[in-house]
Subunit: 486 residues, 2 copies
């Protein structure tokens, strides 16, 4: 055997195996790269030679290389071949959800967080927007009403009156729901983790939007799943790409945020919603719909979630009550296809038995009394103003080469910088001038392009928005000038 194939002797491909040959080859090469057996800069064998060695069609190798390249494992130089890229296990391991940095610890001084810094990074409302007094009131009422029962074990599926209140609430949103199909969970992250456990087995494929919420990637990876990213466009996921990849990979699960996606703020067109569901049906995948922040959709005609279009029980709908409004409470729910109810319940039980009964009872009352709805209405007014100010400021102060597709609402907008300007550098320069931003790189599982910035207006006043965006415009303009001067 020729010396040059020593690195590839471990590769075993099975015809008529579960996955297509080129997917098997992709997996095997990816494994070698992640193990460090093929390290950064390694020159891969030419297509025909590897095909001959493995006794497969050259097209198989071409397809595997192409996939590796799409997913950032290798890159090719025309005329010289394909090389292993600088992606390492370390990069995957050190991949930290970005929100964790902007958290604070312990009891912060309540008087004033020093505000000489312009915070466009935090995506959680400031504590003074949280409905303390109302919640205190329902807590008291629950403790008076239920006494010790508020502290006894809850049914693992969740406090039944709360599940009923949720299904009533969903009906108002156009989603048919029964309390029996609602599972109460301790926050959206737990929901993703539980669904991953229920649907995925080691080695299964999961599709995610690209970019996406890093906490979801972490949950899928912890389950041993393989992530395949599908690019987001301003009217939703790239359907051609989805269609091509779904045929090859046969994913078990597609993780999607159809309304005001995190981090892009993009929303799916109705056509893409239906195409996504249709493809999932044809290729027998489940969809996990993370309804991230649709309460802050400020467009005239709000879009229904995927779940409202789900005719054959293929969509698992995930909604957090705590994420944006009371993040520390840890309360969310899953609305599930009936086929998953028992399995998810068993996994919830193994994960943490049940979600805090006190929280559930208090929130139940909060919903039933309509305080939740009242709170949303109030917070929408506040954020509508910040949203409009931000959009106007982006238009006025950022150079026209910066593109930003206007989101339907939410707390952030997603800026694409002009070709050649480094987002990391812009973020750093802004930081030096006292302005915090989130670089887009945090939201790409791998091979992150260095040209996006997420700008959040969750904790800044209109005045700060004008001031900050103007400053950002200056920084980008300067970078552009330097670039063109070179």
């Amino acid at each position: 055997m020729s010396q040059e194939f020593l690195d590839f002797v471990s590769i075993q491909l099975t015809k008529n195996g579960k996955a297509a040959l080129y997917v098997q080859l992709y997996d095997a090469l990816r494994e070698l790269i992640l193990n460090g057996k093929l390290s950064n800069g390694y020159l891969l064998p030419p297509v025909r030679k590897l095909a001959a060695f493995l006794q497969v069609n050259p097209g198989t190798v071409v397809s595997a290389y192409k996939l590796l390249e799409q997913n950032g494992y290798i890159f090719s130089r025309s005329g010289s071949g394909s090389y292993v890229a600088e992606i390492t296990v370390a990069e995957e391991a050190s991949y930290q959800p970005p929100d964790i940095e902007s958290e604070f610890e312990a009891i912060p001084p309540r008087t004033s967080i020093p505000t000489n810094c312009l915070d466009f990074a935090t995506v959680m409302p400031p504590p003074d927007l949280l409905p303390i007094d109302d919640f205190k009131y329902v807590l008291m009422e629950v403790l008076d009403r239920d006494q010790g029962y508020a502290f006894t074990y809850q049914d693992s599926q969740g406090f039944k009156p709360l599940r009923q209140a949720i299904s009533a609430y969903l009906k108002e949103q156009g989603i048919k729901a029964q309390a029996d199909n609602v599972q109460i969970i301790s926050g959206a992250q737990q929901g993703i983790d539980i669904v991953a456990k229920a649907v995925l087995r080691y080695g299964d494929y999961v599709f995610t939007e690209n970019p996406t919420y890093p906490g979801a990637i972490a949950a899928f990876r912890s389950r041993g799943a393989k992530i395949v990213e599908i690019n987001m466009e301003d009217d939703g996921i790239n359907i051609q790409e989805l269609e091509a990849k779904i045929r090859s990979f046969r994913p078990k699960l597609i993780y999607a945020m159809a309304n005001i996606q995190n981090p892009t703020g993009y929303s799916y067109s109705l056509t893409k919603r239906n195409r996504l569901i249709g493809l999932a049906r044809r290729y027998n995948a489940m969809i996990l719909e993370d309804d991230y922040i649709s309460e802050l959709d400020v467009a005239d005609a709000p879009l229904a979630p995927l779940k409202a279009l789900d005719r054959d029980q293929r969509v698992i709908y995930l909604k957090s009550f705590s994420k944006i409004f009371m993040p520390g409470l840890r309360l969310a729910f899953l609305l599930m296809p009936p086929s998953l109810v028992a399995k998810v319940l068993a996994i919830k039980h193994t994960s943490d038995i049940s979600t805090s009964g006190l929280t559930q009872r208090a929130f139940d009352l909060y919903l039933r009394k309509g305080i939740w709805q009242k709170h949303i209405a109030a917070i929408r007014r506040i954020y509508l103003e910040r949203y409009q100010t931000t959009m106007a400021a982006v238009e006025q102060f950022l150079p026209p080469a910066v593109t930003c597709h206007r989101p339907r609402g939410g707390l952030t907008c997603w800026l694409a910088l002009p070709e050649g300007v480094s987002a990391r550098q812009v973020v750093q320069q802004a930081e030096e001038r006292g302005m915090l931003l989130t670089p887009g790189t945090a939201f790409f599982p791998r091979h992150a392009p260095d040209r996006f910035i997420r700008l959040s207006f969750a904790v800044v006043s209109s005045e700060e928005i004008l001031h900050g965006v103007k400053m950002l415009g200056e920084i980008i303009t300067q970078d552009c000038l330097q670039k063109s001067a070179k």
Copy 2:
């Protein structure tokens, strides 16, 4: 068919179905009640008659009735039978969204739960022993003090002041601890799940005591681990068996409850504690110590946990604050070897981001003000009396062939029946006479012997203990006589 069963013809029970027969029956009856087919005041058929009609064991009907009663669907009048209760959501006026079926489950009528059934199965204190007023007080104080911060994200590792209060509390118990090595979690079950994720990979071996807590087995299995059981003896795990098996299997983790084990109530001798740690060291296994209920150790000289003997950071110490005292709160912690801190933190983040900040802040105050310690002292006095009554009753009323190693405290005792007497049968006969027990079979991962019963004195009065244990003695004696007559 007799006229009196017309209301029940729709009931279909499936043997070997997914749910136990009594659960199926509970569901069916509940459905009839909610549909209004069986309305308020309806007199349910006597246990034996319904059992004969449905062709099931009377114990099945007893258990179903008992569940219905616990959940407020029916009530019983001694001597006259069981009646359908007035199902209403109008417990409090505001509780009436029109869309919602008029069903409630978790809020039992607070007036008086009929107590003609003797509950020796529940291991959680009754709601009236839970410290509501104190907890309400600290909740209020936290909300006044921290305002919106009580609802913002917590550090994933946990609210730092609480971690500090815990490490101070541990020092009082003889365990060296630093706040940096404490991880706050949402109950002990989550702790086991997170440790499983941190330490185990697919196919790894885990050792557990035999019998043990079934929730731990479920968590390990969900991780793809292989379980190897080591038998418990009345002075701790069987060390010879452990030594022989640890050499063959090289487990990654040993799950142990050294103090008042669940379900046996056995505690390890000091020698066995040291041997266990020594073997773990020699064969490089971690130990997960679940400190189940050591607060209720009522022996004169309390035994230190394994963690206090852990000289080379091999023991992960798990302690729940909620399990016994406020089960619905979901609050526990892990004290970890420094080497695991970062990994466990990352897994906690992937699992549910963080544990409820409000709960953490309130419990922090609860610990700092010494209310927790005061509550434990109070509850110890109550349980000491029940414990002593139970031990005396077991000695007085059970035949000498029933063995029961006196536990050091806790809420249960573990009865070994004479050879040839079936524990399942005894439990069923007791159920028919209105006494609930837990058969030991539930606690063996496989090959469960049919001769153990767990008798819990968590929710029974001294009078009920005497009455119940006497009845149990009669049942066992009768079974023994029948056995020897054959």
